[in-house]
Every structure is written in C-alpha cells, then in structure tokens.
Symmetry: D2
C-alpha cells in the first residue's frame, strides 16, 4: 500500500487536490493508494499524542502508516518550509522504527516559484535520519495556482516530472 500524506490541515488546500491527483495516477497503474489527511488529526494531538502520551484517535494514523511500505508526502510551502503539523505528526508516531526502510517520495506545492524546494530538503533530512529511503527525484510544483485546474495538472513539464517520479518510485 502507498500512503499519500496531505501535508497540511488547512481546508481546501491545493496540496489536497494534488494528493488526490497522485492517488488517481497510482490507481490507474493498479497500485493501491490511500490518503492520509492531517486535517483529520485530533485537534489537540500536539498536546495529547506526543512524548509518550496515548491518544486512540492518533493511533489510527499510526496503523495507517504501518500498513504502507511506501509513502508520498505532498507538502505545501509555508514560510519557506513544510508546515509544522507535518513534523508534529512525525513526532507523534512510534519511535524509532516507524519509517525504517520505508520508501518515500516528496512533492512540494506552492503558489510561489520555489515549489517548496527548501521544505523538501528539510523533510529529507528528517526522514533520512529516521532511516527511510527517500527517492532522489523531488517534484517541486511551484506557481501551481496557474498550472492546476479541475483536478488536473495543466503544465506539460510538471506532468512529465510527475510521471517520471511515479515510474521511478514504483521501481524504487
């Protein structure tokens, strides 16, 4: 199973739409894929699910992650990096083996030009530390508000990179 993490809890995010797009692409390739939506985290999980505290609602997220041997992080750019909730989420998961040897692909989303280039670099540092293996090809979807419409990527270049990433990820 490939889990696709919507890397924000903001309502109506482009990242959510991009995650849906990736799910559709994987499904078309007969790959089982499931969305993991940080909007649905318990609202106080930062205070009730970290540092060894048990939160049954949060545990459902742990179970979902455990069922995935591969993960795609779709991560918007906030203040030049990934949203804090992505990191808080990782901190709530079982340590240290949750990500060990999992295969990870990174997708950055922004309305600015960078496509979260810096945030994906930061996230790679964290996931590598947790012994995940991160696919080299990071897809950076900058200026995405002008390249996404009706659930479709309208930029040929972006479609090319996404297809290349998915092919590499299936072979990874």
């Amino acid at each position: 199973m490939t889990g696709i993490i919507i890397g924000t809890n903001r309502e109506g995010s482009l990242s959510e739409e991009v995650a849906q797009f990736y799910k559709k692409k994987l499904t078309e390739l007969n790959q089982a894929a499931s969305l993991i939506d940080l909007k649905k985290l318990p609202k106080d999980f930062q205070f009730t699910a970290l540092y060894g505290k048990k939160n049954p609602e949060f545990d459902e997220f742990q179970k979902k992650i455990d069922q995935c041997e591969k993960l795609i992080f779709v991560v918007p750019e906030y203040n030049n990096s990934y949203p804090g909730i992505v990191k808080s989420f990782i901190e709530g998961l079982r340590h240290p083996d949750t990500f060990t040897s999992k295969k990870i692909a990174l997708v950055g989303v922004s309305t600015g030009v960078l496509g979260n280039a810096i945030g994906l670099s930061h996230l790679n540092d964290i996931l590598s530390y947790l012994n995940a293996n991160v696919l080299g090809l990071r897809v950076k979807l900058g200026s995405l508000d002008t390249h996404f419409s009706d659930g479709q990527i309208t930029s040929e270049t972006y479609n090319l990179f996404i297809n290349r990433q998915i092919q590499s990820f299936l072979a990874f």
Copy 2:
C-alpha cells in the same frame, strides 16, 4: 525586550532549563528578558489559530513577540530537527511582518552529540525568509544531559560559547 522562546511543549524539558539559564545571564547584564513558553499555547492552536483564524489566547503570544526587538530560540532536537510546534507557532503569527528586522539568536539542545545542528540550519532558513536577521554564531549544546546540572552549564567550552554568543547578540 529580549524574548526567549522555549521551543517545545514537552514538560520538564532541558530546553526550558536552558532558557531559564539564558534569562538569568541576560538579567545579570541588566537586559530585560522574558520567557515565551510554548507549553502554554492553546492545546488546539494548530487548528484554531492558523490560516487566518482568530484565537484570543494565541493573540497574547503575538503581543509578547511584538514587544521584543530581539528573540532567542532555545530549541531541542527531535528527529534531527526542531519540534514541529515551533514551526506551527511561527505559522500562527501575523504575516508577513512579525519577524521583519528582528534580531535572532539560535540555541540548540540535545542529549545526542549534534546539539540540533541540522534543526538550527532549518530554522535559520525560515527566519531569514521572514526577514529576521539571525546572528551567525549558533550555539549547539550537544550531550547536554552530561553538561548541565542544578540550572548551571558545567562545560567550560559551552559557557565560553554562550558568553561569546550573548556578547555578540547584545552588540548585534
């Protein structure tokens, strides 16, 4: 006023003790200093104070930050970087001018050897983007469980770096 941010909401953290230590040092130098304690954030602030939502309890934090022309971030190392709550906190603050031209010093805390070297690099990227000016000298307090006792840093090297950082920060 110099604000000293305790960069975690974990109870009984070394970072909190280090923040207290920095406060004492500044007070001895007749510098007004105030702790900003992320443990006291509203427990659901990631869902109630970001993305334009108004949360009066969170606003108290905004006011405190606005009163400080200088900030010291004391930040533990979780999974090879800063805690997610630090970033979520920044995301909740008024955009884009909250940090503009503020002077910042970075202090990393860990029981491992790195002293959050990677996390301070990540945080520098974010604060620079927000137009803060970050002091070059980042203090990285690795293996701190063996170099801190009764509220005091017991490593001569660490005391030397801390004093150098504080002197540079006052002149910054």
Copy 3:
C-alpha cells in the same frame, strides 16, 4: 569597503553581470565597492593554496577580503547549489577569523526558477559557522535569462527586492 564576490570562474557568466549591476547600484549610493573575481584565482589554487600552503597570488585575494567589512556573494546555481569554487575559495582563506563579524548579503542567480534557493541556504550555513552575520533577506534571481538585459534587471519585482536588500544591507 563592500566586496562583491563573483561566485564562479565560468567566463561570461550572468553572475558577473549581476555583480557589476550591484557595484553600480552601490556606487550610485556613494558606497565604495570592489569586485572579487574568482576567475582570476590561480588555476591550481585548490592544490596550492589550501591546507596551510602559501600561494602569493592567492594572498592577494585574502588582502582584498580583509579590506572589506561587508561582502555580497553573487552565486550561480550549479546542480542545485553554489559552485564548488566558492567553497574552495573560502577554505583557502585564513582560518578562523577571516569572516568573523563581517556582514554578508546573498544573491542567487539561475536560469531555472529557484534562483539558487538551496545553494544560498547551504552558503548561509557555512558563513554563519564562520561567525559572519548574514542578512536575512536573500535575493533569489530565478529565470534571470528572461529578466536581465543590457546590464539591467528588467523585472520590477526583482528590482524591488534588490533595492530592499541593498537598503537593509546598508543599515545592517
């Protein structure tokens, strides 16, 4: 004196033109500015000027750097980061005090969209470690081949950022 480092030894680089542009801007503001051109380094300096070896030609660069209290690095993006020659150049300079307390501004140049965002982050890590103070505002000139003509930046946004950076740098 403000030194403007042309961060590549490639002939005919856009970075050289951007460095010239910055020099002109500073001169118009009655600020003394001088180009430091890595093309003019001794061709074997990586083997004859590092690790304590003395190279009189390289020493001329050391003298120039020592005369500058402020430095602007204009740095192209090669393979998602700064050119290796920039780092080798830094390694050849006197350690550890060459950059101590110098004020630094960073300018990234690329034909791709990123404007060397990642490379400026990397360079910031190195210069901060050397106790330089790096201005928060990093100017990232992406897609510059379409925004630069006849020695002039033709993008209004870029001119705005450059002017803001220069004003902040003068006050830094």
Copy 4:
C-alpha cells in the same frame, strides 16, 4: 562495482583512511570496491575540466564513476560542510545523467563532534537533484581522531552504525 570517493585532496587525511576501511569491509563481503581519490585530479581541473572543457586526465575519473552502480562518499567536514573540491568534481562530470539512479551512501568525517552532519545534508540535496538515490542512513563519524587507530574504528557504536549502513547499502 562500488566506488568509494575520498572526498578531499588533502594529503594524509582521516577520510582516506576511512575510505580504505570501507574498501576492506566490502572486500571481506566479496564486493568489488575501488577508491576514487580526488588528490589525483589534475591540479587545475577547476579551470580545465568544467563548463564543457575537455581534459583527458579528468575523463579517467568520469570512466571510473561510470563503471560504478553504487558510490560511497567519504567526506570530511571543512567549515561546517563538505570540501569545495567534492562539488567541483561533480560539476566536471557529464551532465545530467552521470548520477541518475546510482545508489549512494554518505559518510561524514570530523575531529569535531558533528561528523559533518550539515555537509552530508548539503551533499544529499545535490545528489538527489542529480537523480541519484541516497541511502537514508548517513554515518557521521565525529571526534574520529579519538575513535580511529591503526586503520580500525575503535568505537563500538561507530562499528555498529557502519555495519548497519553497509548491510542496508548492499540491500539498497
């Protein structure tokens, strides 16, 4: 074939000894391994082998790299990052496919405590951009002057990490 890159041109480096150590380990596991020694680069390669210039001596390095499906970078920490020559070397190699889909492992070496943590992060950014796949587990050999003697790692922890890295790398 696994290429082991000695990531400096300094004579008598610890990194060279660590590279030899990795070669011995691989040989014991019946893995073909070959050292790639940046000390042997043409001394002016920065000026004669980059930007499309042809240098037959440098081409020998290209051939060696082309013969390796896997690469281990053993990289000392200079000024908080990797040596510039490592990056210059990468810039001289054929673009853009030299590293595509190659498997990479990263080893940092320092006498300070960090084990080049920051430099490996920087290098990962570059190699990922070049579509290499970098093993998550980065080995950071800090304070190595006290943990290396007669060609052997004397720290049990370091041996454990190295063995784990090599096993993961063989399975990668």
